[in-house]
């Protein structure tokens, strides 16, 4: 049985895992390799490392971290945050990541998607889209720079364009839902998932087991990502998967 994927996201700053709420009051939460190995043991299907290191001086440290993770983790993992060029993509993949997540840079330079897909294969190009509902309710706009800047383009159209350019997967984060713990944005997730023929990972808003069930049924997502819920041990991956299984969602257990 093909399964829905559960993906914990680890926020990384200066090669350490950090925890915080909405990127403020960050506290050190340990070594990325140790955390990754633990998540693997708990049954995570994949991991996403989001590098939020502020200073560009320290960006090379992420390559070293990726190498250490790759030597010890034998499930797929994606690295995102600050990836701007094909050369950045190459460095991260060569260090051992299976996929890279590209966000703002893909908006500014959509060719980055097609060039990376051509050079390294679509399977390793995840296009991350941060989106927010327009105030008039007519649709969703794309945001960049960590969800701070409204780009003024329609998210549904951008998702289809990213797919056409060669993205292998889409990571859809709802800025409306993110941090609320009131559930994923199932409406736009389903719209995008049904319009593209590549897997869609839903992100933002996970607060309970039921939210995951909803995003897989109503939201038509292929995978669901959460950060704080898993970090703060509010929900164990095993319990979540048992619940999904009991509700007829195929998961790896």
């Amino acid at each position: 049985m093909y399964t829905k994927r559960i993906i914990p996201c680890l926020d990384i700053c200066n090669s350490r895992v950090v925890k915080g709420v909405n990127f403020v009051n960050l506290v050190d939460a340990g070594d990325p390799v140790e955390q990754a190995v633990l998540y693997n043991k708990e049954g995570a299907d994949e991991l996403v490392f989001l590098d939020i290191t502020a200073s560009s001086d320290n960006r090379d440290t992420v390559v070293d971290m990726v190498e250490r993770v790759a030597a010890n983790l034998f499930i797929p993992f994606t690295v995102g945050g600050g990836i701007r060029t094909v050369d950045d993509v190459k460095k991260i993949l060569r260090a051992g990541a299976d996929k890279v997540a590209i966000n703002s840079a893909a908006i500014m330079n959509p060719k980055l998607i097609s060039e990376a897909a051509y050079k390294f294969g679509s399977q390793c190009v995840v296009v991350a889209i941060d989106l927010k509902k327009r105030s008039d309710g007519s649709g969703w706009n794309v945001y960049k720079n960590g969800g701070r800047v409204d780009v003024g383009i329609d998210a549904f159209e951008w998702a289809k364009e990213a797919c056409r350019l060669g993205a292998g997967e889409l990571l859809i984060t709802s800025m409306d839902a993110d941090g609320t713990k009131k559930g994923f944005a199932n409406d736009i997730t389903a719209m995008i998932s049904e319009a593209v023929d590549i897997p869609v990972i839903a992100s933002g808003g996970a607060g309970s087991k039921e939210d995951f069930l909803d995003v897989f049924t109503k939201g038509k997502a292929d995978a669901a990502l959460a950060a704080s819920l898993f970090h703060f041990k509010e929900l164990a991956i095993k319990d979540l998967k048992d619940y999904l299984y009991e509700n007829n969602i195929s998961v790896r257990r």
Partner: protein
């Protein structure tokens, strides 16, 4: 010593990391003697059927691979490395595969519920008593990334099947020839056990 056949394929590094993790000795090589002297050989692969075969032929590895397999020493193909062992693929019409075993690779038909490429965890239904899957429970989950799937001609060569709209022949075992469509090096403990089963032969 395990020879990893070097024809500039992708995913070599992740296979090497898994072997290192398991403490296995390996050599990455395209040297004929070095490959033939090895106890086991691995043919990795990510990319297109044609590009891979062009490189294999450019480096004069076709005969080396066939000679190695004829020596009855264990041989493992991974992902595209499985597909290359068969006759042809819809991905690259007219390009001859290595034809070590009979069969063809076809494009996975996409539909509303079946997205292509097939990315993610899917289960393997074991088809026979196999050395590769020793100690692995039936319907275990492994990680896939591919758009083309194998239909082997001889059902007795098929060690595992996977359902994804179509029946994928996801693992092969024929005498000393082993192959997986999925990525054991990315399939957590199940995958490491499969690699260990191979290296322990």
């Amino acid at each position: 010593m395990i020879a990893i056949i070097d024809y500039d394929a992708g995913n070599i590094a992740s296979v090497i990391r898994a072997l290192d993790y398991l403490g296995e000795k390996w050599v990455l090589t395209r040297d004929k003697q070095e490959i033939l002297n090895a106890d086991k050989a691995i043919l990795p692969g990510v990319g297109s059927f044609k590009d891979a075969l062009d490189n294999i032929r450019k480096y004069e590895l076709e005969d080396v691979i066939k000679t190695f397999i004829a020596s009855k020493k264990p041989f493992l193909g991974i992902c595209l490395g499985l597909q290359l062992l068969f006759d042809e693929s819809e991905e690259s019409p007219g390009v001859k595969g290595l034809s070590v075993l009979p069969g063809v690779c076809k494009k996975i038909p996409a539909s509303k519920d079946i997205k292509v490429p097939h990315v993610g965890w899917n289960s393997i239904s074991l088809q026979k008593e196999s050395k590769l899957f020793k100690g692995i429970p039936d319907n275990s989950y492994v990680y896939f990334v591919h758009s083309y799937y194998l239909e082997a001609t001889n059902k007795e060569d098929v060690a595992a099947c996977t359902d994804y709209g179509v029946t994928i022949h996801s693992a092969i075992e024929h005498d000393n020839v082993f192959a997986c469509q999925f990525h054991p090096e990315k399939s957590s403990d199940v995958g490491l056990t499969i690699i260990k089963n191979f290296t322990s032969l």
